[in-house]
Subunit: 126 residues, 2 copies
DNA sequence: GATACCAGTAAACTAAAGGTTACTAGTATC
DNA sequence: GATACTAGTAACCTTTAGTTTACTGGTATC
């Protein structure tokens, strides 16, 4: 813990950490980007399957987010024109795997935060 | 890598990961929360020091974010009424340390993403 | 005596994000 | 023949986030 604190402080002093975190949040922050990516981690999906998998998202927002994610190299849009009606498959690129650590860290933290809320722990330290 | 993929897939199947990540983003997402926390990791600061440290934030937004962060148990607002003018110190609580893994994961990812953009790498895999 | 700093707050505004409804055209199901 | 599915798009609206400007009252500096 103390060890890690020193690590993190070194990074902070250089102002690099703030910029990196801000950049990360700019790219993958927002309500839907990570939920979409997580849904696609499980398996590639078609537009409406994805819409059902990501609870609460609207077609408009999903469409916009997918364009964004594709532009940033996270997903690939595959069109099977020979099908009727046309099948469109969205799948993750190799680059999305780089997000695994971030996703797991956020997931772990979010989970323990929920636990903390449920058990009603108060912070004991100032 | 393959090992980790199996890990993450297990979590996804249970739908827990999505909920946890969404919760985490709800609490610490947004443009300013993590930059403020990172600035305070370095050391406790007064309102205007913090405003200078977090580049680009306005007083109104900083004030709102601080209230939010305090309500969620991340920071402590300490008032030194004996000073003239009154000194107000914002400092992190112990609970903020739980964010270290998240901050470092986002920082690492953001940094390597910036590197990728600069060197103009294209993804080689579909 | 004017200016700047302290820790904010209030009001009014703009910008960005997200939601809702309706619609496309071709096919399959009831 | 009505309904539902395919993959979205367009227009419109609401909500949230963030900015700008001006202001507080007491102290220190020029």
């Amino acid at each position: 813990m103390e060890q890690n604190c020193i690590d993190i402080r070194d990074q902070i002093m250089s102002q690099k950490l703030v910029k990196s975190v801000a950049d990360a949040l700019y790219i993958i922050g927002g309500k839907w980007k990570l939920p979409i990516i997580i849904a696609l981690f499980a398996q590639s999906k078609r537009f409406n399957d994805l819409k059902r998998a990501v609870e609460g998202i609207s077609a408009r927002v999903l469409s916009n987010e997918l364009k964004d994610l594709e532009a940033n190299g996270f997903i690939k849009r595959r069109v099977y024109a020979e099908d009727t009606p046309v099948t469109v498959l969205y799948e993750l690129t190799e680059y999305s795997n780089s997000l695994e650590e971030v996703v797991l860290a956020l997931g772990n933290w979010g989970e323990s935060h929920l636990m903390k809320l449920k058990t009603g722990l108060k912070e004991v330290q100032s």
